[in-house]
Symmetry: C2
Subunit: 400 residues, 2 copies
């Protein structure tokens, strides 16, 4: 292969040289156009940065979905006028917009606000705790952190907790309940009207615990993203309301202002859905990775053979093993109720496999079609959306 | 939520109006910049189209990986000079390049070539058959099609097969072997030196069958993409060499010229890898979809809660159910040897679940870490690549 390719290249170069200046001239033009593109994008980011500063001064939301949709719509029409693919223009502009949000998010509040809040983050040195601490600081709020080595009744911790407007619990799942209990005990004595909130990825038990241990306002949050996001804009946070919403409305408004999409959900419903999209998905992905290891497949060869769609599926498995196993075991081991559901999933695979063993295509297809019907119009929508994304993946520019 | 959001918008509009012309002026500037961007992109596509025409006239390859890498490298440096994110510029330029390939692929050969080939596609009205027929026609070759209702010994079919330089078998897996046998029988009598090739997604049996039934050149191909690709550039085709490579080298050269990445692989190795990346993946995805149906989860709520990464995983499941179940059952039922491997996968999930049942975090983490080690440096590479892609997915612009 390598030999063949290098022959091809030599051949091409020879032929290309034969065409003389005509070919090179066109390539120079591409380079000139690309440089102009880069300059224009730099100009655009300068202007959006200015807008961001004005918005920040006025306390306006950075992310304005209607304005963005309108802008995209207009540019799609303009692309059509010029005989261009509207999808191309939409993809390019959306990609640039992502960096606008990024630079706007990076802006620090210029002056400390008058209504600045005192916020204590328990576990504030963890990755997620830091992310939220950063968000609050850039908003001009005053952050202090309590970590696991600190004693809650120490003078220093008491001072922090006494003046807090909000205490945010950001600790591993398996210690969330005990930390809530301890913190609430101190708040009950010294600051009963403080807001108590958590960011654990399960919600029913923590919210129940906060409600029963604490007298003041309570809200459970679940950020549906990891600590390595580039921008808060368009990210989702699940909100399980506890008590005295009017007291913590400013917190929700702040998250909205950063472009975060807030989704209200019952704590129990949240946990049921998460058992599917987190627990089952993580567990079966871990098992799939373990399987690849046991089968000892040739990763290099499989990557060489993979078109974008297979590569995408494989990197979604491999990416998990770059993370901390404790994070996943905490989520997967968090609730014994998940075991029954996962057993039903195993039965489902066994059933599907039994169709193959019995050479029963009919049943396989019938079951497939019932699920197709259950997905309804989502199947086609997902196919279109994934094709769009797989094409983006195929553009290249990844790391490998 | 809806009520709250609409209140927010009104509030923003009021405040935004208060800022007067300053704000609007900046937004007008964004619109002007975006229009210039669209115009520049249109110019760029015009120039690459010209280059494509010259390349097509000269029979040069459309996809030139080294030139593309060089161009990207230069623009990344230039972006850095202007204080921009190089990743932003790379993503934008790669996205535009995709449309260049698309328009170059759409070009028809201007004049019929002197060395034009006679190609018969058996199953040429199928989706994949049409895709290849289109590729050959644009190259100036002469295509004829034989379909399942045709009789191979009819005068019309014999005429096609007698003058063929290449017969390409593009039929469903489960009839591939019998079609090869029938076609080879006719070729043996009327055109023994013709090239016989197939595009089935399994390779060992078809290549063996072609070698034993046909005397002339033989090559097995497996296009690692579906019929709905936007461009051949950067797609992969697995090549299992059969016999008399020198006779079908022009076919491989043509695919290379279209930007297709050819990967040589032993037919047996190919099938082993495919049992993992096709059969197991498809079967467990079908089972996962069936599971979602049986659990009757609320798809709307789960989508509302999904951040880009969960959404991505869900659309990769749902997309499958937009396809034809027969396609998947053909692949999954193609080889009984896959059953044992899938049973080992089920054992792997059961093992992982047993760690949870026994509250044995230690074993879960140990097994996780062994797989992490097995992935080696790929785990981090996959994490980076997937973060890049998930960010692209988060830009929006899908269908929903």
């Amino acid at each position: 292969m390598t030999e063949k390719s290098s022959d091809n290249i030599k051949l091409n170069e020879t032929k290309s040289n034969e065409t003389g200046q005509g070919f090179d001239h066109l390539r120079d033009e591409i380079d000139r156009i690309d440089k102009s593109l880069v300059k224009l994008i730099a100009q655009r980011l300068k202007v959006t940065k200015e807008i961001g500063e004005i918005k920040s001064d006025l306390g306006l939301a950075l992310y304005h979905p209607e304005r963005e949709a309108e802008l995209i719509k207009n540019k799609r029409s303009y692309a059509k006028e010029l005989g261009l693919s509207p999808d191309l223009i939409e993809d390019v502009i959306r990609r640039i917009i992502r960096d606008s949000y990024k630079s706007q998010n990076a802006q620090r509040a210029i002056s400390s606000k008058s209504e600045s809040k005192e916020i204590v983050i328990v576990g504030g040195r963890g990755q997620l705790g830091k992310l939220f601490g950063d968000l609050f600081e850039k908003n001009g709020d005053k952050i202090s952190v309590i970590e696991k080595q600190d004693h809650l009744n120490s003078e220093e911790c008491l001072a922090k907790l006494k003046k807090a407007d909000l205490v945010l619990i950001s600790v591993p799942i398996n210690v969330t309940l005990s930390v809530i209990e301890k913190v609430a005990k101190v708040l009950n004595i010294h600051n009963p009207n403080c807001i108590l909130a958590d960011v654990t990825s399960i919600k029913n038990q923590p919210v129940q615990e906060m409600l029963s241990q604490h007298q003041g306002a309570v809200v459970g949050l679940h950020p549906m993203f990891g600590p390595d996001i580039e921008t808060f804009a368009k990210q989702t946070v699940a909100v399980c309301h506890g008590r005295l919403k009017e007291n913590y409305q400013w917190l929700l408004d702040l998250l909205s202002k950063k472009g975060i999409n807030l989704v209200d959900v019952e704590a129990k419903t949240h946990d049921d859905l998460m058992s599917i999209i987190q627990v089952l998905r993580h567990l079966s992905t871990v098992a799939y990775g373990n399987h690849l290891r046991h089968e000892d497949i040739d990763l290099n060869k499989i990557l060489e053979l993979s078109s974008p769609i297979y590569r995408l599926e494989l990197i979604m498995v491999g990416r998990l093993f770059a993370q901390d196993p404790i994070l996943y075991s905490d989520i997967i081991f968090s609730d014994k109720n998940n075991i029954k559901m996962i057993k039903r999933f195993i039965e489902r695979i066994s059933e599907t496999l039994s169709f193959v063993e019995n050479d029963d295509k009919q049943s396989f297809i019938q079951s497939f079609n019932e699920t197709k019907e259950w997905f309804g119009e989502f199947a086609d929508k997902f196919a279109k959306e994934s094709n769009h994304l797989i094409a983006k993946a195929g553009d290249g520019g990844g790391i490998l």
